[in-house]
Amino acid sequence: MTDFVHPTLLFVLGALPIPFLKGPIRKAYLLLIPALAILAVLTMQPGNYGTAQIIGQEILIAKVDKLSIVFATVFTVMAQIGIVYALHLTRPGQHVAAFIYVGSALGVVFAGDYLTLFLFWEGMAFASAYLIFAQRGEQAIRAGFRYIMVHITGGVVLLGGIILYGVATGSVLFGPIFGEKGVAAYLILAGFTLNAAVPPLNAWLTDAYPEATVTGAVFMSAFTTKTAVYVLARAFPGTELLVWLGTAMALYGVVYAVLENDCRRLLAYHIVSQVGYMVAGVGIGTEMAVNGAVSHAFAHILYKALLFMGAGAVIHVTGRRKLTELGGLYKTMPVTVVLYMVGAFAISAFPFFSGFVTKSMVVAAAGQDQRALVVLALTMASSGTFLHTGLKLPYYMFFGTDRRLEAREPPRNMLVAMGMAAVMCIAIGVFPQPLYALLPYRVDFEPYTGVHITESLGVLMFTALGFVLFLKALDPENTISIDTDWFYRKGARRFMWFAEKPLARYEKAVSDVSETTALPFLHGAARVGLWIDLTGVDAVVNGVARSVLRGGGMLRQLQTGVVTHYALAMIVGVIAAIVVFAVAWR
């Protein structure tokens, strides 16, 4: 048994045969690869694997420690669930993209140096973009291009930071960046926070995820932001800025979720909100806070995927995505309702669901670190989380006004995948110890105390009271919300307008100047040039030519073509050379 099989290898190489397999064989194969990857993660031993020297830099393909193992565990488990959910797809494209996407995410998680990290970072961006394009339709393709352009920009910023960092420190090994942060560190931080969807760099997520395919969005909800949390936890623990960014984004996502009408966009805003807890936890940087951030990422991947699967099932069955067009589905989709609600209870941190044992660790760490404001803000965000994902979304999607939609339960594989995620959400909530044992630091935290349970239930159930009393104010409206993507969606239009109007006018003015002023001047200059050419230059050239011609004629007279003349000339030359040598040289 080897100590380490890189799971990226399994996924990326494993993606190659997918298009050539058909029917049940392909399905079995698709299920086998993530299972092997889970096995590879469970059996791997901590250590450094795959060191090499490339362009004079030390490269470390895989650095295995507790932090990378916990992320790799949940990534491979999630890949298994996501593949089950997507098993009914007949075209191979999305499966291949998903495999490369997961493989790249795992590549980032094990990357021991920045160059390896960057390579897989870009791999993730391109593979995931395919999951948006695969939806087809103009809206999705436009969103896909915006997504890829934002990520390429972020990638360039990250690469710039990496190069500056490498030049400054002489090493590109990936590890904590301590001390005074220079330009390099801030560029790297900006690249990382873009993928973590920290406002104002969040809009790519909420713009693109709801446009992705039903199955693709499930993968996307899990990997990109959580690899960003991983790299932040690795490189920037204890960065004060992240505490405030994280706290702000926890509330930011919740505020936008109130306004949202698209079911998956609402969930996407809750990714922003939930990742806020993790970013804040990394920013606080104590052992408990980092543990909280990591465990919350673990739990989040599973319950958020479950929520996306639930909303995806509704879209798959009804073809509708707006809350204003949905309602009354509980009669035809009761199993979906129950499975969705497990995810909703988990994200809301109800006791005995996964969020309860992870989110509270971040909040408790903030409390221990004497950050009262952070505690209050994060608790408020918890209230908002339940308000939207636990009450508003299921109410308007499954209950509410009966729109008499024709619906049924989704395909069996979708239900099975949701069931797998739901079991994990409850298992982690009831038995948190196995998850705690995986965390990078020793856990000294007991989630199930009387006061914690009553406090959580108090916040959540009285949020429900607010929902019941002000239900009318929450009715979804047929609108979209302006987010920071406004700057490049409207901004790009301004740029195009600028390109078309002032820039075109400028160009016309320049060409006018050239026609009225420059062109006559050039004509005059050309005429002068011609005169100089004819009288001066030509005279010189002709003179030279005539001299050469004359010289050539004289030389020709020497060329008689008689061999004896040449021989004579050579002998004369040799004698002359000897004379020169004998007389002059001495």
Partner: protein
């Protein structure tokens, strides 16, 4: 069984039972909050029984109305063809 549970929360005929159950749960939670031990309280508010219920309700109302205010008066909500 799943269908029965879901129907209980959806069907109009259970609306009174639902409300009674809901208010009972609220009362029980606040009552329990008075009974649990608070030896490890960090902050002043953590020592007040019923604080979390108050804060949860307040947060919910604040979030709804501040967000809707930002959406309508702040101009964040736009017609769906805004970007077209």
């Amino acid at each position: 069984m799943i269908k029965h549970i879901v129907d209980f929360f959806g069907d109009r005929k259970y609306v009174n039972q639902r409300h009674r159950l809901f208010y009972l749960v609220l009362v029980l939670i606040v009552a329990a909050d008075f009974l649990v031990s608070r030896n490890h309280a960090h902050y002043l508010w953590e020592r007040l029984p019923g604080w979390s219920a108050f804060y949860g309700f307040g947060s919910c109302v604040l979030l709804i109305f501040v967000s809707k205010f930002l959406g309508h008066q702040g101009g964040l909500m736009r017609r769906e063809d805004y970007y077209d």
